[in-house]
């Protein structure tokens, strides 16, 4: 039976894992390679590394970080942040990533999705979407507004139609972040997640809002998510991805255990 994935997410700035709220008050939280290996050892089904440096000088640091992190990592490994061209993606793959996540650059030029998919296969392209419900829209959920630049600027797209276009262009997965829920710890936006998951035939990874184990159970059920991102897993009252999955299994969610 296919299992629901728990994906550990590392925010990286200048080659270090950082923690903070809305990218401010960043606290150094260690070495990405060490942290990724620990998450894999402790049961994470996949690792996502998001580079929030996004400066030109930061690119070489990122590639070196990806190389070091990938070296001893034998679970799927996705990298996002600042990937603007197919050539940027090629360098990240060469450094050892299995998937790249694209967001603002794909909205600016959707053919980026086609280009990466053609060279590396659809399974290697994750399209990240940051969306916020639009109370003025006819359907506030399906027509949630898509944002770029870390949520600062509306992209002029609606979540369901953009997710469908991404799929049609060859995206392998959608990483959907609810900006309304992000950082709130009040639960994932299950309606938003379900709307996107039902609209596309590719897996949807839910992100934003997790505060308890029950929130994960909810997004896998009501939210119809195929995977969920656990940004700071230790905030959920569990010690590891394995402990989270043990709780999910008790609630009837199919997960990879033992792991």
């Amino acid at each position: 039976m296919i299992t629901k994935r728990i994906i550990a997410c590392l925010d990286v700035h200048g080659g270090r894992v950082v923690k903070g709220v809305q990218f401010v008050d960043l606290i150094d939280a260690g070495d990405p390679a060490t942290q990724a290996a620990r998450h894999a050892r402790e049961g994470a089904d996949e690792i996502v590394l998001l580079d929030i440096t996004a400066t030109h000088e930061g690119r070489q640091t990122l590639l070196e970080t990806v190389r070091r992190t990938a070296r001893e990592l034998f679970v799927p490994f996705a990298v996002g942040g600042g990937i603007r061209t197919a050539d940027d993606a090629a360098q990240v793959f060469e450094a050892g990533a299995d998937k790249v996540s694209v967001n603002s650059a794909a909205l600016a030029d959707p053919t980026l999705i086609d280009a990466i998919g053609r060279s590396f296969g659809a399974q290697a392209v994750v399209v990240a979407i940051d969306a916020r419900r639009d109370p003025r829209a006819a359907d506030p959920v399906r027509d949630a507004q898509v944002f770029v630049q870390g949520g600062r600027k509306p992209a002029g797209r609606r979540v369901v139609e953009w997710a469908r276009e991404a799929e049609a262009r060859g995206a392998g997965e959608i990483l959907l972040t609810s900006m309304d829920s992000d950082g709130m710890r009040t639960g994932f936006d299950c309606e938003l997640t379900a709307a996107v998951s039902e609209a596309v035939g590719i897996p949807v990874i839910a992100s934003g809002g997790a505060g308890t184990v029950d929130h994960f159970t909810d997004v896998f059920g009501r939210g119809k998510a195929d995977a969920a991102l656990a940004a700071s897993i230790f905030h959920f009252g569990v010690s590891s991805a394995r402990a989270l999955k043990e709780e999910l299994a008790k609630a009837g969610v199919s997960v990879r255990l033992p792991c």
């Binding site: 299992t3 990938a70 001893e72 793959f93 050892g96 590396f120 290697a124 997965e173 590719i202």
Partner: protein
């Protein structure tokens, strides 16, 4: 031990090379030079992407070279599209023939309410006596990402269920294939790659 990895420009080899090296293999890569295949001790054909990409194996002459190596008894492992290539063909690219070492054809998952591609960790039901999957306990999980699959036959080494039962591993003598990605399947995947690396003719059955 030395492993010859075939590069036919279908996706990224980095993860496969890394896992083989991690297990102590000396890895060489060929993308068209036939000499390494002629001297190969073990061959791995990875592959993520489209079945049509295997056309490059025909264009470069790698197909007959690999067939000859298999007939010499060289252990061969196909991964993902590399496993599908062992069959007669795939409905993903109907005009492109496979090696036809196994006579069946690969097909897309049937239409259903489930998502295609099949992405994520799913379990294996390994056939007893499989040397490739020796030590893999019932229900161990491996990582999949694919839309096409091989049918269950007498050569099937493991069955996985998604929409319908399909062959997640195939094995006949020195010819082996896995639909999942052992290089991305944590300890279980490394165990399977290790079994391939230690596979010997008239081995430890």
């Amino acid at each position: 031990m030395r492993v010859t990895v075939i590069d036919y420009k279908a996706g990224n080899l980095t993860s496969v090379l890394k896992a083989l090296r991690h297990l102590g293999a000396e890895v060489e890569v060929t993308d068209g030079d036939l000499a390494p295949v002629g001297l190969a001790e073990r061959i791995v054909l990875p592959g993520v992407g489209h079945f049509a990409a295997t056309q490059r194996l025909d264009v470069t002459g790698l197909t007959p070279a690999i067939r000859a190596a298999i007939e010499r008894g060289v252990p061969f492992l196909g991964i993902c599209v590399g496993m599908q290539w062992l069959y007669a063909g795939s409905s993903e690219a109907p005009s492109q023939p496979g090696l036809a070492h196994f006579p069946e054809r690969c097909t897309r998952f049937s239409e259903s309410h489930e998502k295609v591609p099949h992405v994520g960790w799913n379990s294996l039901e390994a056939r007893s006596g499989s040397r490739l999957l020796a030590g893999v306990e019932p229900g161990e999980f491996v990582y999949f990402t694919h839309s096409y699959k091989a049918p269950v036959t007498a050569d099937t080494a493991a069955v996985t269920h998604y929409i319908e039962p399909f062959a997640s591993a195939v094995e006949r003598g020195n010819v082996m294939g896995v639909q999942f990605h052992p290089e991305k399947s944590a300890a279980t995947g490394l165990k399977i790659l290790g079994n391939f690396l230690s596979w010997e003719e008239k081995g430890t059955e």
